[in-house]
């Protein structure tokens, strides 16, 4: 009960202090707003990059061409070996006739040429279309399959997959580094504001000590103030994250540059990001403030 009363008083005083030192608080809140906005941007980008990687992983296919003169038994053996590969999640067989038929549907030119082929004249090859479980091991899987008997060719977008993955991985690492960096920047800004608040309230602190306030009694109002500064600093980034991302998603119809790069659905994504931003603001605010109080009051 006593603690609740103390917290209640500290919340009231913290809000008063934020408004009493309005210009100082505003300067700090503005800086925190900018950093949290960048944190939000980094989180949104990082999450989307992760999403792109997953989508790409799902879309990439290994195409296995078998020899033209393959027998039924040999084909069954190739199929068995593909099925048994631990990185194969699913596969589909396409006969050369199916391929020709689907190609003829796409253009009249193909129809005219391919329509005249009989069974022995079809130069295409039977294929297996394979999806892998782990995209990072696609090269190893392709090599294993290529070494199978009666397999003439394996294609899986060599080079492109590796490039995509390495670029995305770098982007993700950079974004995570940015998030961590900005969290420290936020803590530093809040810590600095609290230092100034401590300076402007040093007489109050002196009197608090004089009348028997414990370290906790002295720290608590500043921690609460840090919490409020962090919370107020998170308001604009949250609004911009929610409305900005929804607007972006609607504007680009959920995809960026090509249907290949799809954006994460806004709901519940934006709300999760907002919660993360709010939590970062509050937690970093409290700890930034606590470190400033401990350091400057030599508690």
């Amino acid at each position: 009960m006593k603690f609740i009363r103390m917290i209640g008083r500290d919340i009231r005083d913290a809000i008063k202090s934020v408004f009493r030192n309005f210009s100082l608080s505003m300067a700090s809140i503005s800086c925190i707003t900018i950093t949290l906005l960048l944190v939000s941007l980094a989180i949104v980008s990082s999450y989307n990059v992760d999403n792109f990687t997953k989508l790409i992983s799902r879309d990439f296919t290994i195409v296995v061409f078998v020899n033209q003169d393959i027998t039924e038994e040999e084909l069954t053996e190739v199929e068995y070996n593909i099925k048994e590969n631990s990185n194969v999640s699913e596969y589909k067989f396409q006969s050369k006739e199916d391929i020709a038929a689907s190609m003829m549907e796409t253009s009249d030119t193909f129809k005219n040429i391919m329509g005249q082929w009989d069974e022995t004249e079809n130069p295409l090859k039977d294929t297996f279309l394979i999806k892998v479980k782990n995209i990072e091991e696609i090269t190893e899987t392709a090599i294993v399959i290529e070494k199978l008997d009666n397999v003439s060719l394996v294609r899986y977008g060599e080079g492109i997959v590796e490039n995509f993955l390495s670029v995305f991985k770098i982007i993700e690492k950079v974004l995570v580094a940015i998030v961590i960096l900005f969290i420290f920047v936020t803590a530093f800004l809040i810590s600095n504001t609290i230092k100034l608040t401590i300076f402007s309230r040093r007489r109050e602190i002196e009197i608090m000590r004089l009348v028997g306030a414990s370290n906790f009694n002295i720290e608590l109002p500043f921690i609460v103030e840090g919490l409020f500064i962090g919370m107020f600093g998170a308001i604009i980034p949250i609004i911009l994250t929610i409305y900005g991302y929804i607007a972006l998603f609607t504007q680009f119809d959920g995809q960026l540059f090509s249907p290949f790069v799809r954006l994460v659905q806004p709901n519940p994504f934006v709300y999760i990001v907002s919660l993360i931003i709010l939590s970062i603001g509050i937690i970093v605010g409290m700890f930034g403030s606590l470190s400033a109080v401990r350091k400057h009051l030599k508690i």
Partner: protein, 231 residues
């Protein structure tokens, strides 16, 4: 009953100045003690040691069972809750009203509002400032501001009230008014230790007088006067 026991206290500051040297003192519950002496005699240092703003270099200070010299920084508040301290410069918060300045000393401990109100009004009544509760310190005279500081110091019901030159900035009449308030507080059972230069007050009050000179206890009279001590 002995409330404060000081044994072989020495205080040397970092700049090499020795403010107090081999001081032995015993103060009983309910005493009213004047600590007098020239500037630099160690009066203020003694007050600072008693409320543990400074630590002694050597010796022992026991207040109400607490060994002040050994008290860790994080535990000083336990001692301060048993003491009230009044300074020459009042140390009031200008942005708070008289009531808020006094209530401040209770609110930080999370006391219920009703209790805060009752105790604050009682303290303000005692110093004769109940009617000025809503005013800000800057609108009060020096004497009134000092009364607010006294009210804040006693609102917690401390056993000891330490006063460091509380009348230093006040004219004789106002100073006498402050002393009357302190006398009432003393009669209610609070032990008062007051460092002062004010000869007139010491002479009028006829209380115990401790004379310090260059950090040493020179004289200790049960009912002394300033003139008596010096000559």
């Amino acid at each position: 009953m002995e409330l404060i026991r000081i044994r072989g206290i020495q205080k040397q500051y970092k700049n090499g100045v020795t403010a107090l040297c081999d001081l032995d003192l015993s103060i009983k519950k309910g005493d009213f003690v004047f600590v007098i002496g020239a500037s630099g005699s160690g009066k203020s240092t003694l007050i600072k040691l008693l409320h543990r703003e400074e630590r002694p270099t050597k010796g022992q200070i026991i207040i109400g069972g607490i060994d002040v010299a050994k008290l860790r920084n994080s535990k000083v508040y336990k001692l301060r809750r048993k003491l009230g301290v009044v300074f020459q410069d009042f140390k009031l918060l200008p942005k708070l009203t008289v009531y808020e300045n006094v209530a401040f000393a209770l609110e930080i401990f999370g006391l219920p509002q009703g209790e805060v109100r009752t105790k604050t009004i009682k303290a303000l009544e005692l110093v004769g400032l109940k009617n000025k509760a809503k005013q800000f310190p800057t609108h009060l005279s020096g004497g009134e501001q000092q009364r607010v500081a006294i009210a804040r110091a006693i609102v917690n019901g401390p056993k000891i009230l330490l006063c460091d030159e509380p009348t230093g900035n006040l004219d004789p009449d106002t100073s006498y008014g402050i002393m009357k308030v302190l006398e009432v507080i003393n009669k209610m059972g609070t032990t008062i230790i007051m460092a002062t230069h004010d000869r007139e007050i010491v002479d009028k009050m006829e209380k115990r007088v401790i004379l310090l000179d260059e950090g040493k206890l020179v004289k200790d009279f049960e009912k002394g006067t300033y003139d008596h001590e010096i000559y």
